[in-house]
Symmetry: D2
Subunit: 381 residues, 4 copies
């Protein structure tokens, strides 16, 4: 039932926010991290804008100013708050935004109960679901950033969640050949996965497991952050300008490596997969190890043999359109296509990805310098 799935997803979003104090909902410490209250509002705005306003006859808008506040990047939908201003807004209040969510939910129930109507709108409804799931992951990564950059290092949750232990892993061999790429099933997928097509791959090997913290520490201890030869020119300048010397959230306290986690500041666990590294670091690590990163095509082809789902994995592929990629008409066409420049593809999923959200053909993408997502390294050769 779409209606059940809707409620389940909407509830999970609010569940994620439950441990927050009101103040935690408000701040935006860097441009890429949005205030949690903005995520709560924006995901509701998405349903309001693309479903309720155009398709529910008696829908009453909650507040006409909210379109300006909660539009993220849809030029088609009109003027919007500049992104860097999200953390400057104390209003609408958290309470107002929860009321906005309730308002949207009530009308969405009406819409979803009309089976004839939802049949035609299935695609956009499912896009709304997946959109909200993407923001669930962003909520968790943004909350981690907000609390992990506070000098008090408050914990988000207390319970000990088991981390992902990395087994040593072996290199799997994949023979040269023509392989199918892209989504080819019945369920939902994003437009950037469409255009199922063949690629020709040379022989390659890909490691079954991710790189561990212990392995990454060797890279640090070998002085690789001070040796230009493993780095792209841009990566090297990024290292020097930002004085990067370890993954994000790592702190060396009196000679002991610690890292901030959602449970607070903890000693580093050596057999966990390394996390919160940029593409530049992933590439440099692979170069230092005498290996390389896999392409997204190699990853997808080998995916059934890999241990994946722990971390988003940087690939050696730029985010570009598949052959036959078609941008949708209207605002929905702005969802993916307009980002296909200067970003790198990540494959897999992470421990904060919503359940059931990813799949082998899923294409995540970020700028090569970003580290606040749960990003890791898999080697190929």
């Amino acid at each position: 039932m779409l209606s059940d799935k809707y409620l389940e997803i909407r509830n999970l979003t609010e569940e994620i926010c439950r441990p927050l104090k009101t103040e935690d909902y408000v701040v935006q410490p860097v441009v890429d991290v949005s205030p949690p209250k903005w995520h709560l509002g924006h995901t509701s705005w998405f349903f309001e804008t693309f479903l309720l306003k155009p398709h529910l006859k008696d829908y009453t808008e909650f507040d006409p100013n909210y379109n300006f506040v909660f539009n993220s990047y849809y030029e088609t939908i009109g003027a919007r708050l500049i992104r860097t201003d999200r953390g400057n807004l104390s209003r609408p209040s958290v309470e107002d935004i929860y009321n906005y969510r309730k308002h949207v939910d009530r009308y969405m129930q009406v819409l979803l109960d009309d089976e004839a109507k939802t049949a035609n709108l299935k695609e956009i409804i499912e896009l709304g679901f997946n959109h909200e799931q993407q923001h669930q992951e962003l909520l968790l990564t943004d909350i981690k950033y907000i609390l992990g950059h506070n000098p008090l290092f408050p914990a988000y949750i207390d319970s000990e969640k088991p981390f992902f232990r990395v087994e040593p892993g072996t290199f799997i061999e994949i023979p040269e050949g023509i392989y199918p790429i892209g989504f080819n099933g019945d369920g939902f997928c994003f437009d950037n996965e469409l255009g199922s097509h063949n690629v020709f791959l040379q022989d390659y090997k890909i490691r079954s497991s991710l790189v561990s913290n212990a392995e990454y520490l060797e890279f640090i201890n070998a002085g690789a952050y001070k040796n230009f030869e493993y780095w792209h020119l841009e990566g090297w300048e990024w290292v020097k300008q930002n004085q990067i010397a370890a993954p994000l959230y790592w702190y060396n306290i009196d000679g002991q490596w610690c890292h901030y986690t959602l449970q607070g500041l903890k000693p580093l666990t050596l057999d966990e997969a390394v996390c919160h590294i940029s593409y530049y670091e992933a590439h440099a690590y692979a170069a230092w190890a005498g290996k390389r990163l896999p392409t997204e095509f190699e990853w997808e082809t080998a995916s059934s043999k890999l241990n994946w789902g722990e971390r988003w994995e940087w690939t050696e592929s730029a985010y570009l359109p598949y052959p036959g990629f078609k941008k949708e008409k209207g605002a929905i066409g702005e969802y993916n296509g307009k980002f296909m420049i200067n970003q790198m593809v990540l494959r897999g999923a992470s421990e904060v990805t919503s359940p059931g959200h990813s799949r082998p053909s899923y294409r995540n993408f970020f700028h090569p310098y970003l580290r606040w997502q749960y990003t890791g390294i898999r080697l190929a050769q």
Copy 2:
């Protein structure tokens, strides 16, 4: 009684914050505007750092991390949060900070009840009072900025407060002569007012009243924002780069001038003194009117004949040390002296200055481009 005065001042600070929602305490939309919760913490940190820690034997620090968070600019006191990060902190929470205030207040009562001790500390206690009063004014100017730059334009208070009506005013003549300048009384004053000394003034005239909105509108309507000849070179570049065309908080909505006030967005009142203008604008207005701004010495000399207290008034004087200015030893010496470069002096007081806080010898100072304080124009010639 110092103890009564302490409570009165501390209560007023919290009174000012009463109309705020929790979210309003958190944001920092520009570097000069601090989050209200930071003001609440910083004023308490001031008493803790300069009185409780050094002078109350059994004082227990509330939280050792707070020194890093709430130190504003005192290098002597150690490392501190960079100023632009104040709005990135969701913790300490508003509740935590009110508890911090209570903690400090409880111990301050102990200290202030010890009459022998307070006799020796009178100067620094009174500095703490005046420091908190300065932050009371900043709280109001910062709250106005936070709410006045929100696209929803929420009101801070509902009650209609009478504004300051500007009477036409006349030019008062002051004859050439030697006049005394600086603080020369018994009560409290800041170190920058000390060094009472003589100055020689030529004949001058100074207007009894401030420039009104009606007068300033003539300047706008005459196209003065588009004519370089009234402006300093720096002022003209500031106008062009920031596309300045009216005072801060003024909006021309469908041909009607409105301004944001603490009561919300209101139509402009013509006989109110013009407010929220930069020194550049004050200077350009005077040049356009064929007049000039008074120096701080002219202002102080004529002050008993002026109608003042409505608005801080830009003068033609740079903020420089008086003859015989002495910087205090230690952190307190950082209070005023290190700002004596590239700032202009303002005299008077404003409608949001705390009662009894200003006096004729009071020297306020800001950078010439700033507009978020309640600043106005008085003409001389």
Copy 3:
């Protein structure tokens, strides 16, 4: 004979500079444009550093300071002038640098006359030749920028050189299949062309001719520079921030389109291929035309059927390593590999590419916002 080829190439570089005034050799109006005298010195430094110093026993360095001045980006070779400072150096003088060239040339003759030795150094010698040819093209594009951004619009040469006329062109069909990619011959190629390998291509069509000025004018006149829907998000921000409304060097003078050429300011010729556009513009044009840009693999596969060599052509491919790409050891390894991020591949050649320098497998690459090279558009679908 290597020695003859050396002289021929070195002479052409100086030939290109002949029309310059001394002052033209010195300036660097933007970071990407180097002063011509820097190109003259740097190309000599390349031979000195990679051939004379390590391989000619009795070589005497011309000036030990020149390593600092003329090293471009080779970290292996030591400290170097920051790139933005190239235009701040009045010394070494133009005369000094010509003497430096003569000095290097004299010793290079000695080296090249030693056949036994050159046999082992063939690869690096040819790299030096091709390196200098790349700078010959940069000399012409940089000179064009220097003179074309001068308010006096001086001409570089007077002679009328025929421009490249674009014939209407047809779409050539290429069937689905496995095609070989990469350099597979005997002569010289860069390391980024190596790793000859197969790719699988779907059916596609590619136009035999480039997009003309007349066609591009339709795009302008249709208001495409003011309509976000054809642009990448980054491209759209680039358009707005830089107020882009036409290709580089185009000026609309009293309603008439002109463009700056090496012969000075001229009326725009409609049947010439459009030139000096960014990747963002190439992509937006293709989107507006209902087509797309070819990938570099599609381009290379179809190259024998295309009319190419007029303009470098933006492709839809990011600059990434081929399967099996190996970075050379030492400084030479810095030639290409470290740039393989956030750049797009261009294929073909331009009217200012040195004779014999390009080939179908040649991979040129620039950041997507750059326009000072001779860049054009070919459509695919």
Copy 4:
């Protein structure tokens, strides 16, 4: 004779440029340093714009584009090249600009030969002379910057010029009283010296000699560049951000202090007056020494008893209008008045000031962070 004085001044300008290579005329390594060829053109443009065009009937403009290129900051005169672009222009060539000078000189002779006419124009003619003298000093300071920031450290001249030896010096006492300030003679002065008026000064002492390199070295060796307490907040941030640790042009080479001079890199002479320091450094030095800088009024009052003319001396006075300051009408009114904000006054003259150019009432002014002028320190208390 005005005509003789004109020639003498114009010749000195060209004499100053004689040791330059053509390339030295072109570069602009920082925004405040203009290319020598720009100074040559701009000083000619001044005579052309304010004398020849309005007052010589048959004057033919040399090149109509030059107004755009050589206008410095006169908004009244129309559009102009942005200041940071001066070093991006290879044309007009040095030869062209010398021809421009000859052209202007020829017509100026005609004008100056007409005694009736020059009688009325005396003021603006003398302004032109003094303007060119100011640029003579700027030529020398800019040439020093251009050559002194070149990694080859070329000398401007070879001859050994005796430096200014600082005698130990004593503190001169000036009694409290009313003193006259401002220009009050017959000859030429700038408008910012006018408005001769009285000031009241308290008792003060002022040192007869400037601070020497030996004295300044003590300040460095005492760690004063690493101790915030001597600095303005802005000065301290300037020190940290720019990693300032010594005066401009000082280099510590293997433990030996050297400085770049117009004769090339030389060992530091201890009994020379310290030079090329910012106002921030002058102020911090005085604070460290337990003294202060004099105000411009104290300086002028004591000037007949001081040993001055070696170095421009930072004062504790901001650059503000004198009582009764009147801005001239039209472009000439832009000469001084519009800079009266955020700059500090310097008094005296330097070894590169043109002969006869300065006087006791002369008010020089620069931003507090600037160091490329010949600036020194005199103490008061």
